[in-house]
């Protein structure tokens, strides 16, 4: 389960790509180039990258409304992703889905989801299908702390457990369900404590520590692939930006946000890489700059891409 230095460098690259994508997304929105809303995952990069790093390329993920990071970690083509965000025909969903529904089915990303907890019951079906077909594939299902208090979470975790399905449930606890703090929404200290109620292992990790996320999710993936059933991993993290564009941050203090920025998962991983594989500061900056450049190239691709053809407006409603 030890990652090679090349792989570790690549995970850093992925985290910077996410950061750069999200900052660009915000910037494009401010320029009026984005129709709709978006949910940024700045500050949560280690959760997405560390978790997906534990998967094989042909494993599946189900993502959330805050899904740009998951999509990039799963290996999405940045051009097609940016084109989707900008509603273009060249996007992953031909501009029909947008930020909340980006999916790369061929790449194993079964979609972001506009409904909180919407993907969790689907993960049961994907896991059931893998088990029935004997594919050996695992389904990793992301959701947030808010989703863990909704009905689908309960039904799905129970079903996955009783059928010992190859599913890994990853709860990204970023502290707030829109404005409602996890500290008020749960009467238990850790969301992973709920795993016991479904008869599966639960683990809470520092979601800003890529290595901790990777290690915990790897254990869960191994267990799933061995036919021992699902697990629940809780990544404790924080979103630096608001819930969506309409968020005025009235429910939390500037000090709190600043304190979490001190726990920047990317800076933390860079510090670790400096020790572990002697990553130099210039090397790290080169990774960062390359990521921002790749995002600029993706914007150029998306900008130059055609709008969907109105004549095809109803395509895809039915097979």
């Amino acid at each position: 389960m030890t990652l090679t230095p090349e792989r570790q460098r690549d995970l850093l690259r992925q985290m910077w790509l996410i950061r750069a994508f999200e900052e660009k997304a915000e910037n494009l929105y401010a320029q009026g180039k984005i129709h709709g809303t978006m949910h940024l995952s700045i500050g949560m990069e280690a959760s997405a990258v560390g978790a997906v790093a534990a998967l094989q390329p042909d494993d599946y993920i189900l993502s959330t409304h805050r899904g740009h990071g998951h999509c990039i970690a799963k290996g999405a083509d940045l051009d097609r992703m940016m084109a989707e965000f900008m509603g273009k025909e060249t996007g992953y969903c031909r501009g029909r889905g947008g930020s909340m529904h980006i999916a790369d089915v061929a790449g194993g990303n079964l979609g972001a989801n506009g409904v909180v907890a919407g993907g969790i019951p689907i993960a049961v079906g994907v896991g059931l299908s893998q088990k029935m077909q004997g594919t050996g594939r695992v389904c990793l299902c992301f959701f947030g702390d808010g989703a863990a208090n909704s009905g689908p979470f309960h039904e799905a975790l129970n079903m996955a457990a009783i059928w010992t399905l190859p599913v890994v449930f990853v709860c990204e606890n970023n502290q707030y369900a829109m404005s409602y703090p996890a500290s008020k929404a749960f009467a238990i200290p850790r969301i992973s404590d709920r795993a016991a109620g479904y008869g599966m292992p639960g683990e809470t990790v520092d979601g800003n520590d890529l290595n901790a996320v990777y290690a915990a999710v790897s254990r869960a993936v191994e267990r799933a692939r061995a036919g021992e059933g699902p697990s629940l991993v809780e990544n404790v993290t924080y979103r630096w930006r608001g819930h969506s564009k309409s968020d005025a941050n009235r429910y939390r203090s500037r000090e709190e946000i600043e304190a979490w920025k001190e726990k920047d998962p990317i800076a933390r991983f860079e510090r670790w890489l400096a020790q572990a594989i002697s990553l130099s500061e210039p090397d790290a900056r080169a990774v960062e700059q390359a990521a921002y450049a790749a995002i600029e190239a993706a914007v150029a691709f998306a900008d130059a891409s055609p709008e969907p053809d109105l004549a095809a407006i109803e395509e895809g409603v039915y097979a």
Binding site: G97, I122, V124, V126, L128, Y318
Partner: protein, 328 residues
């Protein structure tokens, strides 16, 4: 031809398709050894085992999610919701997820499942176990809605629905389960989106769905003795609808009575009436389009009250007679 009950026809379709296609499986509450609340899946677990006839906890949303996720990744599941009333508990997955996945993903995915929904009143099960909610699903783009009225159609439509690449809501009216009719033993399909003329006639068209088809046919028998020749058209698939056949029939007869069990307001009859009124059949109408539907009220428990909540044969006879005699 050999006769089967509607229930046996559905079971035979499941059985034949599961033998033919290893991707097909059945999932729902008590579908295994119990055989389903109405006995539709009885015996299947003995043949196909618990791996393909899957009992679930009481988790309707979970069932809907399971068939969605499995369909998305290569299987062709057939879910059962014990009573259509309980689709209320599953509707998020059906409406927000399954129906829209293909479109939202730019056509890169398919969700080929069937969700079987025992529906309707007449069993004394009262307000929470007797509803006909088909029109909710008709209203959702991305879903298909099928409502067979005979054993022959039930088998052929179910085979077609399982082989269809879209999510299909399959409405089985519980009162039909014991009705019998000819059903070929071999594999055959009734294509989705094809209506059927159940009885030909020149004076009046009755468009009826589900259990109302049999009642309309009985009414037509009685009216024939009075010299009124009724044509009974069964859409069979509510979505996509074979509007053409209905428009042709109404253009021929010049009068149309629409009959369904579901509550009148917002029911399928409104859509049918609009389609007819917007079509060339409008020019041939000799009388207003008439709807006969369930009252706008929950289904009562009491036998007499329940009976009078939804259209019965005598109501159809009376409405059709008035329409045919120009008294509407």
């Amino acid at each position: 031809m050999r006769e089967l009950s509607y229930l046996e026809a559905i079971r035979e379709a499941l059985q034949q398709e599961m033998r033919r296609d290893p991707r097909v499986f059945v999932i729902g509450e008590d579908v295994g050894v119990y055989g389903g609340a109405f006995g539709v899946t009885r015996g299947l677990v003995e043949e196909f085992g618990e791996q393909r006839i899957i009992d679930t906890p009481i988790s309707e949303l979970g069932i809907a999610g399971a068939i969605t996720g499995a369909a998305l990744t290569g299987m062709r599941p057939v879910g059962e919701i014990m009573f259509m009333d309980f689709t209320t508990l599953a509707i998020e997955q059906l409406v927000n997820q399954a129906a829209k996945i293909r479109f939202m993903f730019g056509g890169t995915a398919t969700v080929p499942f069937v969700l079987r929904c025992p529906a309707g009143s007449g069993t004394g099960a009262a307000a929470q176990h007797s509803q006909s909610l088909e029109n909710w699903f008709v209203h959702v783009p991305g879903l298909k809605v099928v409502m067979p009225s005979t054993p022959y159609d039930a088998k052929g439509l179910l085979l077609a629905a399982i082989r269809d690449d879209n999510p299909v809501i399959f409405v089985e009216q519980k009162l039909l389960y014991k009705t019998r009719g000819p059903v070929p033993e071999e594999d055959y399909t009734v294509p989705l989106g094809k209506a059927d003329i159940k009885r030909a006639g020149r004076d009046l068209t009755i468009v009826a769905t589900g259990v109302m088809v049999a009642r309309a046919l009985e009414a037509a028998e009685q009216l024939a003795r009075e010299g009124i020749e009724v044509e009974v058209v069964d859409p069979r698939t509510l979505k996509p609808l074979d509007a053409e056949l209905i428009i042709q029939s109404v253009s021929k007869t010049g009068r149309v009575l629409i009959v369904h069990e579901a509550a009148r307001t917002g029911g399928y009859g409104g859509e049918l009436a609009a389609i007819i009124a917007e079509s060339e059949a409008f020019d041939y109408l000799d009388a207003p389009i008439v709807r006969l539907a369930g009252r706008d009220m929950p289904i009562p428990y009491n036998r007499t009250l329940e009976y009078h909540t939804v259209p019965q044969v005598e109501n159809i006879v009376e409405a059709a007679r008035q329409l045919a005699q120009g008294r509407v």
